[in-house]
Symmetry: C2
Subunit: 493 residues, 2 copies
Amino acid sequence: MLEKVDLNLSLDKKNYRKRMDELETRLKELQQTIGELNIPVVIAFEGWSSSGKGTMIKRIVNPLDPRQFKVYAMGKLTEEITMRPFLWSYGTKTPARGLITIFDKSWSRGMLPESIFKWRLSEKEKAGYYYDVNAFERQLHDDGTLIVKFFLHISKDEQKNRLKALEKNPATKWRVDDSDKEQNDAYDKLLPIYEDMIHRTNSAESPWSIIEANDLRYAAVKIIEILISRLEAEVENRRAHREPGVETVAPPRVSILSAVKFDETITDEDYKKKLEKLQSHMAELGYALYAKRKAAAIVYEGWDAAGKGGNIKRLTKHIDPRGYEVVPIAAPTPEELSHHYLWRFYNRLPKDGHMAIFDRSWYGRLMVERIEGFCTPREWQRAYSEINDMELHWTNHGLTLFKFWMHIDKDEQLRRFKARQSDPLKQYKITEEDWRNREKWDLYEQAVDEMLFRTNTSHAPWIIIESNDKKLARIKVLETVVDKLSKSLRGAL
Amino acid sequence: MLEKVDLNLSLDKKNYRKRMDELETRLKELQQTIGELNIPVVIAFEGWSSSGKGTMIKRIVNPLDPRQFKVYAMGKLTEEITMRPFLWSYGTKTPARGLITIFDKSWSRGMLPESIFKWRLSEKEKAGYYYDVNAFERQLHDDGTLIVKFFLHISKDEQKNRLKALEKNPATKWRVDDSDKEQNDAYDKLLPIYEDMIHRTNSAESPWSIIEANDLRYAAVKIIEILISRLEAEVENRRAHREPGVETVAPPRVSILSAVKFDETITDEDYKKKLEKLQSHMAELGYALYAKRKAAAIVYEGWDAAGKGGNIKRLTKHIDPRGYEVVPIAAPTPEELSHHYLWRFYNRLPKDGHMAIFDRSWYGRLMVERIEGFCTPREWQRAYSEINDMELHWTNHGLTLFKFWMHIDKDEQLRRFKARQSDPLKQYKITEEDWRNREKWDLYEQAVDEMLFRTNTSHAPWIIIESNDKKLARIKVLETVVDKLSKSLRGAL
């Protein structure tokens, strides 16, 4: 594919200037339109070193309002980045609706361990990597983001000449380093790897455009033409309100929740004994996570008054507070609403060595947002696979994920609501909204059942905690976390 | 001071548990109260390695609701940190109102170049450093933040024993590194340096508490007692609405704005010639900033319709977009409002090698916020020195700061407003609010005069750009930036 590209295509200065003036005017108009229509746009650049990525980005942003775009150079792997799943740096930088984000090196390669280019990655690893990349693009696309990807292609000789010219000039000498020269030397071996990358991440929704970049004028015109046509198509689409229909998904046949038994209880004595022991074990595991640079995320979901807060307190009691963070998830802010709904969770992803405890989580999409109509049916139906993919990506990085469903029955909830109402110190904990939610118990039950069924994956299974007995629930959570973390740390370096 | 501390103070287990139970109950109540009263609290820990900072933080957070505090370990100097003024890591982490932030190692030492402990910092450098530290604390205090600072003191022998014990245990061995042992060896030389630090950053509003920490039980009780008494005093204060009176500051005697002349103009030919040349120079300077790892911030303030947007476009035209960011400043979000008003600008501080262009800025405090009553008179009066201090801190780090006041006269504004209204493509640029602001021209003029006068410092002077002639204004901004940046880069490494 790349070998057959005609790299002799070029454009003379006069024709270039004339065409460019027309294109810039059109691009400027389109920027205003995508702002009005609230379309988020991601433009990703890949290509050989010195293929002119910086220049091309300059050409694109030239006619744009600088307040409506952001450019990110994603080349360097800082510690901030390597301590997290590689999509973190992208997931936290996706544009708000109506804005444009330009990545100089994309998720398709930017953060990919250099090893893939040195033939050290196994086929299985590559497959997992490209799965994550494609899932990420699909998520953005499904959420309404337009993705435009350019691969800048130059010949081996052209690259060599450009590197030489840069080196010769004292003002640009610093821009060339050893890795650039190594790339030129290995050009022939790298070509098929690039091809493979393009092939495996090419999709109807976010196709690659290969740009013949030996001639920068030709390249700039081609890039802006493609960009304009993609933007126009998207605008037309949006104006026609073309939304694919709602998929119908059969609900699970068996109710998971209705099978939960509440027979087991725990004596106070037994509780006290176990609690102390498990809590000190948790403290040790907190240090071990840090020492072995492993991350963990613990998700608490469950009915109102199921005892999440008290449970979290018991879990964290002895852990060094420098090693964990409790992340309470409330209604999204306007800024959060203007992004992909998983954006705010990427922003809370724990880095290696640390633990994040989510008091409610991304699963809100499948419960309150679904039931209260805060998202469309299509959006929550899509969320099952989006969440599974995100969790897979996180656990692939080495993060251990726990998902607890704190389960109580309807009578127990009523008892707790009433107890809260009659205790002046606890009255603040119960609101009108809690009562309203309670009235929708059956709707929630169905949604939760479906959620537990469809997001119960081997990499991140749900654990149902019978919580009518609060003390038992605390012990069960602690036992589960201590057990699984010990095992996964034993396997770590 | 430190030498005279009695490190033999201790507490037996029984008394400790009894007292601690009382203290924990009280602390829990107080947390709820500071939440209700919206008081932000910062707790900072300093002290010798192995003095028990982690344990003490654990004791404090134990009774607290984990959703209301954050703990930050600030020990490690990552690249993210060293590429910015050292207060950046703290300025971006200060608590929202009603919440508690705990720093394990504070701005008083955490980010201080290790050199101060190795006697390589000059007296002048130290003075500048402590000036920044004290200014930062004063700003937080003035904004209503309670600051509680603990210094954990242990003896040389105790430290040695603790390090040995940690090393002997395979589970904790990794927590001891060479720098800990070096610290123990240099204990006697470090003591006076710590003393000096405590002495120079001790103030009535945020005093140090020295904690005898040879006995951890004694230390924990003392820390929580002090914390409770500080919290109680602050709550009492707040409830009594004790606000110091408004300082009266005499307005400047001379109107700076009324002295601005608009005689000068530029011919189209001259404009075109100069523009091209200056723009390519700017592109080179963008690369030079990156190569020399220097940051720059360019602030645009000015009357509505003074031409900020067009000016920014001309300034950035040829700069590599990966090296700069345009930061539009609009009305603050609820999250921004719940923090210190400079918090959001710390979050936009450009890192070394990069440029940030602020389309409006922190000076909103002294104009729209002052005039529309979005802050109290005391708050905007305080802002003069707060802003001067922040800018000093940034420029001390090596950042070059430009502050442009884009000045047009009242008639010119009217002409531009009318032109916008009659042009369908520009109508979106003019709103009712612009007309309302225009009616307050005189009030704004007075506020701007005062602002230009009081925040015109040698490290960050104001530059008034006569903007009745837009083209001339663009050339003047470009000339100023090119000139000053070239000079400051010539001085850089």
